[in-house]
């Protein structure tokens, strides 16, 4: 019952809330639904360490869990200063009446303990509904892993995803998702991957020259990106080609050079095809190829730049792209055969980087309107209503949706150089995720299945 309720809330968020949202600082749930819905108030007291070995892991687990839940956007965390003096580490120790009274006023409590046994870390975790104390815990979980900080982080993400999944009616949590991006922190622009919260950055490529535009395959096993590689026949002449990298095998996969400047790959939702832009005819046009680079077919036939394709992830039958056929770059839409081309943006300014929301209803994009800097906007594809998500802070570009449809990542110069920032889909909850070097072109991975 609760699940269905939250599902409906989640859908409303995706569908209805953004067009009607007026002030970005407003709470998106209340403005979105207008039904007086409150966020779940969740207590997350410290997890007890059963022994000295797991004290550090318990601290990491607790910190990461609280951060994940705070970022999720669907709960309101109880401040630790409002927690009861005796915090539970087992269901038997939970005193619901202490959690529901003011000022704590919790609806739910997530709690548990960490143990060390047989050289392994064990996490016992529960989620209880303190307003219905007679009911068994909503979640009871026991996790086991090696005793490392990374494992403690991973288990916290896993528990956070389970809590979010339960409270949002089955919408995926994003705590175990990853971000692919471009960073110049080693001196050259390379493709990197990090956890969604900015931790654990790992370099994927060793291009040494330039690698750009990373895109996850829908099964998260591969990355497609643009590389400036040396042509064997003529080493002085760089050629701009698409490369594929397997994150499972940790090596590049074969992909042919398709001619001209070939760039901006985008996976079809089934992962069997790639849309891309190539100047092989002398002019950038959108093509679709099989994921091994074969069976190339051309979709656009227009003078000027046609680039940055993005498939509708829900239907796979529409491709949004950027074209300057009307003068300045604007967002266009066509079907996956190249027919039914229409312009989505109104022709004003410079509109680029279309990114579909996972439900296929919204397109986020970067737009520079008259006398303004680049900002992130989102358009409801059906109604063409557009709302501004960022304002008055640096250049904001390259939005990418989280698989939950509630979060966006983008690049911004608001703190100086380009860095990656996270926000909720209404423009609130901004967090800077990267700090080292210049970081651009984020692409959010798909859900962990």
């Amino acid at each position: 019952m609760k699940g269905r309720y939250w599902l409906s809330v989640g859908l409303l968020v995706g569908l209805a809330l953004l067009p009607f949202q007026l002030h970005p600082q407003q709470d998106w749930f209340r403005t979105g639904t207008g039904l007086g819905v409150e966020k779940v108030r969740l207590g997350v007291p410290a997890f007890a360490a059963g022994s000295g070995e797991v004290r550090r892991a318990a601290r990491v687990f607790h910190t990461v869990l609280r951060n994940d839940l705070a970022v999720s956007g669907i709960v309101e965390l109880v401040s630790p200063s409002f927690e009861p003096l005796q915090v539970p580490t087992l269901p038997a120790e939970l005193r619901p009446e202490e959690w529901v009274e003011s000022p704590t006023r919790a609806h739910m409590v997530a709690y548990g303990n960490l143990q060390f046994s047989g050289n392994q870390l064990f996490v016992n975790a529960w989620l209880s509904d303190v307003r219905n104390p007679q009911v068994a815990p909503v979640l009871t979980r026991r996790y086991r892993a090696d005793l490392t900080e990374e494992q403690a982080r991973h288990l916290a993400h896993q528990f956070a995803d389970e809590i979010v999944g339960r409270l949002s009616g089955g919408l995926p949590g994003i705590a175990r998702t990853k971000i692919a991006f471009v960073s110049d922190r080693t001196g050259s622009k390379e493709i990197w991957v990090m956890d969604y919260d900015g931790h654990n950055p790992q370099r994927v490529t060793r291009c040494r020259s330039l690698c750009l535009t990373p895109r996850w395959s829908p099964d998260n096993s591969r990355l497609a990106y643009t590389a400036y590689e040396q042509a064997a026949a003529s080493p002085e002449v760089p050629r701009t080609s698409i490369q594929l990298y397997s994150l499972v095998m940790n090596r590049r996969l074969a992909f042919p050079y398709l001619g001209g400047t070939t760039t901006t790959p985008a996976w079809s939702p089934e992962g069997t095809q790639l849309a891309l832009s190539s100047s092989r005819t002398g002019d950038h046009e959108i093509y679709v190829v099989a994921s091994d680079g074969g069976r190339m077919r051309r979709l656009t036939f227009s003078a000027g730049v046609d680039i940055s394709p993005a498939w509708n992830p829900r239907t796979g039958r529409q491709i949004a792209f950027v074209s300057d056929r009307g003068g300045s770059p604007q967002i266009y839409l066509m079907d996956s055969e190249g027919a039914s081309v229409e312009r989505l943006t109104n022709g004003e300014g410079y509109a680029v980087s279309p990114a579909w929301s996972p439900n296929g209803q919204m397109i986020a994009f970067a737009w520079q309107r008259e006398k303004e800097n680049f900002n992130i906007y989102a358009m409801d594809v059906a109604t063409r209503q557009t709302i501004q998500l960022t304002r008055d802070s640096g250049r904001n570009e390259q939005p990418s949706w989280a698989p939950d449809g509630r979060h966006l990542i983008f690049q911004s110069t608001r703190s100086g150089r380009n860095q990656l920032w996270l926000m909720l889909a209404d423009g609130t909850g901004l967090r800077q995720l990267t700090f080292e070097g210049r970081n651009t072109a984020p692409h959010w991975s798909f859900s962990v299945r």
């Binding site: 760089p238 701009t240 400047t261 760039t263 832009s277 680039i307 680029v352 520079q368």
Partner: protein
Amino acid sequence: MELRRGLRWSGWLILLVVVMLAGCKKKPAAPPPTPPPPPAPAAPTVTLRAVPSVIERGQSTTLSWNSTNATELRIEPRVGSVGPQGSTSAQPQRSTTYTVVAEGPGGRAEASTRVTVNVPPPPPPREVRRIPLREAFEKRARDAFFDFDKSNIRPDGRIALTQTAELLREYPEARVLIEGHCDERGTTEYNIGLGSDRTNAAKQFLVSLGITAERIETVSYGKEKPFCFESTEECWQTNRRAHFILLSR
């Protein structure tokens, strides 16, 4: 009244001149009183003209001739026997005097005309080629610059590319890479496309000036490899360009 008198006088004057000219012309044409009876065979006459009489090397001129009382006509050099009247076109490689010889029962006549052929001065490439290719390239290759968000060649770009094309014509062994660059405004992805269009516009312009496409490689860096790092229009203009790099082979 004054005017009319003037006109009348000038009318008389013109008439007088015409009469005098006619009288003059008639004199040589008027045949001397010939003894009518002896029907000796008439002497042949011949004329030869070249139009135009001054040509550039490679152009041709038209020789035309006219003869009377001749049974055989020969034009030298290189034309040979011809009919009593006619014309032919000739393409002498250097200045030539054409001569026609007419022979008939009454004797022999000759006429000639000269065709002047202007030979262009030989190009002095050996002098220019003393500068090594790389040095010449650095001195003379010019980049084309573009307007914001545009890839059409501006008038200053036409001049720059024409100069670069001249260099490439003089050094047929030279191969170049055109890099497409954009300013920092706009986004990475779209600018790759825009830079690509700029390189193609520059390449097509060179091809239209006779440089073969095989000698021209292209790459677009978009806004990834700027020449200048400030956020000023001057700096942005520096970065919006098709930049030439000499390939060593």
